[in-house]
Subunit: 195 residues, 2 copies
DNA sequence: GTCTATAGCCGGATAGAC
DNA sequence: GTCTATCCGGCTATAGAC
């Protein structure tokens, strides 16, 4: 395959994924028809099926992008060797979601889908595993540094604390997606008060 | 209408709602067809449409039951005048879900649906409002009793604490529905450690 | 009230021309 | 690679006999 063709393929896939993401955000995964995606993308049925095998594959590409955005930001902030306080971690995780308001409602939908869609479930599972793999060592480092725990104790503490941090992120996602008057600052302040 | 007929109507509606709940739990709301509900109930299409106007109405009846179960238990435990510690509240809320394992995944699905389904969203919204109306006074009472706050301060404290308690419940729902090795005891212990 | 049978529609995916 | 036109399957809801 020639170089140009590869680049073109990628950009067409992006064009389709963009349109699908907008459509899913507007109508939901299942309620969105191929006709919707076709109209939103400005392409035709034939063009789209030349790049994706099925609607399911398009949904997977969208899910990968939404989840990948969140993972990317986590890596970015956790990889730098800095060890912020746990309430700051929640603020960091949710900061990206605030920018893309769209994402929290898509994430809630993804969870709902993943209950009965094999492919999405395994994708969501992998992301949970990766988040765990990232946060646990960070939490252990924080416990050593700020609580003076021994490495083994710190590890145990981190494993205990992890579900709580996850719950704060998940609570943010649910509440911001579903509660009409949700206030991000109040939510973060409440977490700060508890931790 | 004669008495017998009313009782019969109710029990038929329950029979249909039961079958629908099982079907939704097994396949998801959207993936479940009327044919599934018909087969699961042992009735016929005609019989079902004699009791419900549409599939949507059946979904609403199921949603009402799932959410109502949780609300009922909350009322039961909060109304008795006792003031358990906040971590016990989370244990109480999640206890009912543990019994019906089915419920957590149905709740996650309900959230997903409610993003784009008007009727379900308004139902979920009403339940959130009712939970808030129940928990806020309880939290204020707890703060007066166990932290010696004045009524006004206690009220403010309760409004701050509420989203955190909600997050713990929501985290439980998400994690128990989606994480393969989820351990209820560990989760509750982690919350106890934080509070 | 409940059954069987089916109308009528809409969705995903494909065929074939260009 | 992309378009238009269309097939085919499955879905919800109804009609009509009992």
């Amino acid at each position: 395959m020639p170089k140009v063709s590869d680049a073109h393929r990628e950009s067409r896939r992006d064009q389709i994924t963009d349109a699908a993401l907008r459509s899913f955000a507007a109508k939901g995964f299942q309620r969105t028809s191929m006709a919707d995606i076709i109209a939103e993308s400005g392409l035709s049925a034939g063009a789209i099926y030349g790049h994706f095998e099925s609607k399911q594959q398009i949904a997977m590409a969208v899910a990968q992008r939404v989840l990948g955005n969140r993972l990317g930001e986590l890596h970015e902030h956790m990889g730098a060797g800095r060890v912020p306080d746990p309430d700051q971690v929640v603020a960091i995780i949710t900061e990206g979601m605030r920018r893309d308001l769209i994402d929290t409602s898509l994430l809630v939908q993804l969870w709902g889908e993943s209950v009965h869609d094999e492919q999405i479930r395994s994708l969501v599972g992998r992301v949970f595993a990766e988040v765990t793999a990232n946060l646990t060592p960070y939490l252990a480092a924080w416990a050593r540094q700020n609580r003076g725990l021994q490495p083994a104790e710190a590890e145990t503490w981190a494993e205990t604390a992890l579900p709580v941090i996850l719950a704060f992120a998940q609570g943010y996602i649910v509440q911001s997606a579903l509660l009409p008057g949700f206030d991000r600052e109040k939510y973060l302040a409440a977490i700060r008060a508890v931790l």
